[in-house]
């Protein structure tokens, strides 16, 4: 089963605006792969180039090793689920799903069989005779899915398909989509700006920013080991700190977070020296009573605490003024400390959770010489 996508030195310019600034990416066959990033980062443009609605300015889109340049969308074995679903309002659900099959001149009995199977797969068999306007958002989304999948493409492109749905429905459909992908094994290339969505559904995620891929990795790798400040901040919340790396310390590096504040960081680029950026996730930060001893413990004062229900977000400031956000899980219930503003505490930054970001962005490609 194919469905591997390779983007090679991909560049896309609209007039003077560079939407895609050089991407090298391999999306392995059969994976649930997400393109994650803020609005305007180029993820949808990338998707459209794979679909064939935009032509690259330079570089190539390869499907299973075959260059797609010049091949129009209707001739690619790739299908799209659009953000607005793009269902044909004047056709019944059945005819919407049958559309592609009829264009391919599949014979009538086959068409009926395959459409029925596709509708069954998304649990919409009973609504086959309805028109799209009579369906709810979630149902329309399923029709769009069935319509694309019935053609048995090698790659399914999804452009923020869950954006228009409410939170509860979205979570439901996330589970369904993931299960569906695992079941049929088609490569899903999924575009979203919602990092939670990307993390929970994907086999791999590529974080994009300003037309470039900042990092491509499994969700866990990306969350635990972000390679840039942007990725660290985009996925979940991070504490980003400026620090000074002085020398080796145990398995890691000695860091000065501020005058007289020395800690050890054991993750990331421990060979770096001089000015560096360090990150630690709020859920790894421990708030201990003032005066606690031990390595990587720094005195601090509570500025604010926000009750979240499943935990408390505590914002503390170090003596140097550096703010640190901690997320304390609600394991004690009513016995949780209050942490009123002004309470002195000790902040514990475990060295195994403290990561030094690499200094240079792992560059994807060098810019080809301008041609036009």
């Amino acid at each position: 089963m194919g469905g591997e996508i390779r983007l090679e030195r991909l560049v896309k310019r609209f007039g003077s605006f560079t939407a895609i600034d050089g991407i090298d990416l391999t999306i392995p066959a059969g994976q649930f792969f997400s393109l994650l990033g803020p609005s305007g980062c180029g993820k949808t443009t990338t998707l459209r180039m794979v679909a064939g609605f935009e032509q690259p300015t330079s570089g190539g889109v390869l499907l299973d090793g075959v260059d797609m340049a010049g091949i129009p969308p209707n001739k690619r074995n790739v299908n799209t689920v659009f953000q607005s679903y793009a269902l044909f309002p004047h056709m019944k659900v059945f005819d919407n799903v049958a559309f592609g099959l009829r264009r391919a001149h599949v014979d009538k009995s086959q068409v009926k069989q395959r459409v029925d199977a596709a509708l069954e797969q998304v649990q919409l068999t009973a609504l086959a005779r309805r028109k799209p306007a009579q369906l709810s958002g979630g149902q329309q989304q399923r029709v769009a899915l069935a319509r694309a999948l019935v053609l048995q493409p090698e790659v399914l492109l999804l452009d923020e398909p869950l954006g228009a749905l409410d939170a509860k429905l979205r979570r439901q459909l996330q589970v369904e989509l993931k299960a569906l992908q695992e079941q049929i094994g088609v490569t899903f290339l999924y575009v979203t700006h919602d990092q939670e969505e990307a993390i929970t559904m994907s086999d791999q995620v590529a974080v994009m920013n300003h037309g470039r891929v900042e990092q491509a990795a499994t969700p866990r790798e990306m969350y635990e080991e972000p390679s840039t400040a942007f990725v660290a901040d985009f996925l979940g919340v991070s504490n980003l700190m400026e620090a000074h790396a002085t020398g080796p310390s145990g398995p890691g590096v000695a860091l000065e977070l501020g005058p007289g504040v020395a800690v050890e960081a054991a993750r990331g680029d421990v060979a770096a020296r001089g000015a560096v950026k360090a990150v630690i996730r709020p859920e790894r930060v421990r708030i201990e009573p003032a005066g606690s001893g031990g390595p990587n413990r720094v005195p601090a004062m509570v500025t604010r605490s926000v009750y979240l229900g499943n935990g408390v977000r505590v914002i503390v400031h170090l003596a140097s003024g550096q703010p640190i956000v901690a997320l304390v899980s609600n394991t004690e219930g009513d016995a949780m400390p209050d942490w009123d503003p002004g309470t002195p505490v000790t902040v514990h930054l475990p060295s195994a959770a403290l990561r030094i970001l690499p200094v240079a962005l792992p560059s994807t490609i060098t810019e080809p010489a301008p041609t036009a």
């Binding site: 969308p73 209707n74 790739v78 659009f82 793009a86 044909f88 009973a126 028109k131």
Partner: protein, 287 residues
């Protein structure tokens, strides 16, 4: 609701209905006097008679003039609508050089006085060495009807979700097929409106027709003008005119009703709920 006083509402209502009366009375008189037996349209109404209708339909010149106008009108409707579709497709392209200028030129016929255009076309025919003819009238009508076609079709085209055509292509259809299967059906209401408006514009047009129609083949408006100067012809013209008036009013009502029906049909019966009863029991399908 917006704070118009009781008195204000009463005054405005009277004003409005007085105007409706003012607008419809002349039309009514045409219909009433069409049935008047007397040859002159004055009170009192002598007797009820339909013989003017008979005479009108029997008058070959009148019939022929009407037919010519209907033919030219229908052709204008078709041609102008076709050109309107093309213009709309072109104007909906993402990037278009000199878009503003093109739009201005396409809408120019709306502002050019028809009398100036008519004499200008007369000169054009002369310069090209052509005789005046009904074809020339047709071409003149297509030009003046074109902006209406664009004004009706373009907004409708713009309102369509562009992803739909992309979806059609994504699913395997070429550009032309996508247009025929997706865009065209959804444009149909506006195409019908365009045809009607262009037809009416052509059917009622006098300036261009008066200059470019050969004297032996007048269009209906030209015939109406010369006929109204002839007292003997007047009752027939009134009879025919009343039919046209009633017919156009009926068309308007049908067009409006048809438009609403088309909207409903396009979106499926609004009465049917979003399938709560037919929903499968599974939690996954619940919305």
């Amino acid at each position: 609701m917006s704070g118009v006083s009781r008195l204000g509402r009463a005054l405005l209502s009277v004003y409005f209905w007085a105007f409706i009366l003012f607008l419809f009375v002349p039309l009514l008189t045409l219909v009433v006097f069409a049935f008047n037996e007397s040859a002159t349209p004055t009170l009192p109404i002598t007797a009820f008679s339909t013989h003017w209708f008979g005479l009108a339909f029997g008058d070959t010149e009148l019939r022929n003039a009407l037919l010519r106008s209907v033919e030219i009108g229908a052709l204008t409707g078709l041609l102008a609508t076709a050109l309107g579709i093309m213009a709309s497709i072109g104007l909906s392209a993402k990037r278009l050089h000199l878009r503003g200028l093109i739009v201005a030129i396409l809408l120019l016929p709306l502002v050019v006085p028809y009398i100036s255009l008519a004499v200008g076309l007369l000169i054009l025919l002369k310069e090209l060495g052509l005789q005046i003819s009904l074809w020339a009238v047709l071409l003149g009508h297509v030009v003046i009807a074109l902006p209406f076609a664009v004004l009706v079709i373009l907004p409708r085209l713009r309102s369509l979700d562009p992803s739909m055509v992309e979806a059609a292509r994504d699913l395997g259809s070429g550009e032309v097929t996508a247009f025929n299967l997706v865009t065209l059906p959804l444009l149909m209401p506006s195409l019908v409106s365009s045809f009607l408006i262009c037809f009416i514009t052509s059917f009622d047009e006098f300036a261009i027709a008066s200059f470019l129609a050969p004297s032996g083949s007048p269009t209906y408006p030209v015939f109406l003008y010369s006929g109204s100067r002839t007292p003997g012809l007047l009752p027939e013209l009134i009879a025919m005119g009343s039919l046209i008036i009633v017919f156009s009013l009926v068309i308007i009502v049908i067009a409006e009703g048809g438009r609403r029906w088309a909207e409903l049909r396009l979106r499926g019966e609004a009465a049917e709920d979003a399938g709560t009863a037919a929903e499968p029991a599974g939690a996954l399908a619940a919305t």
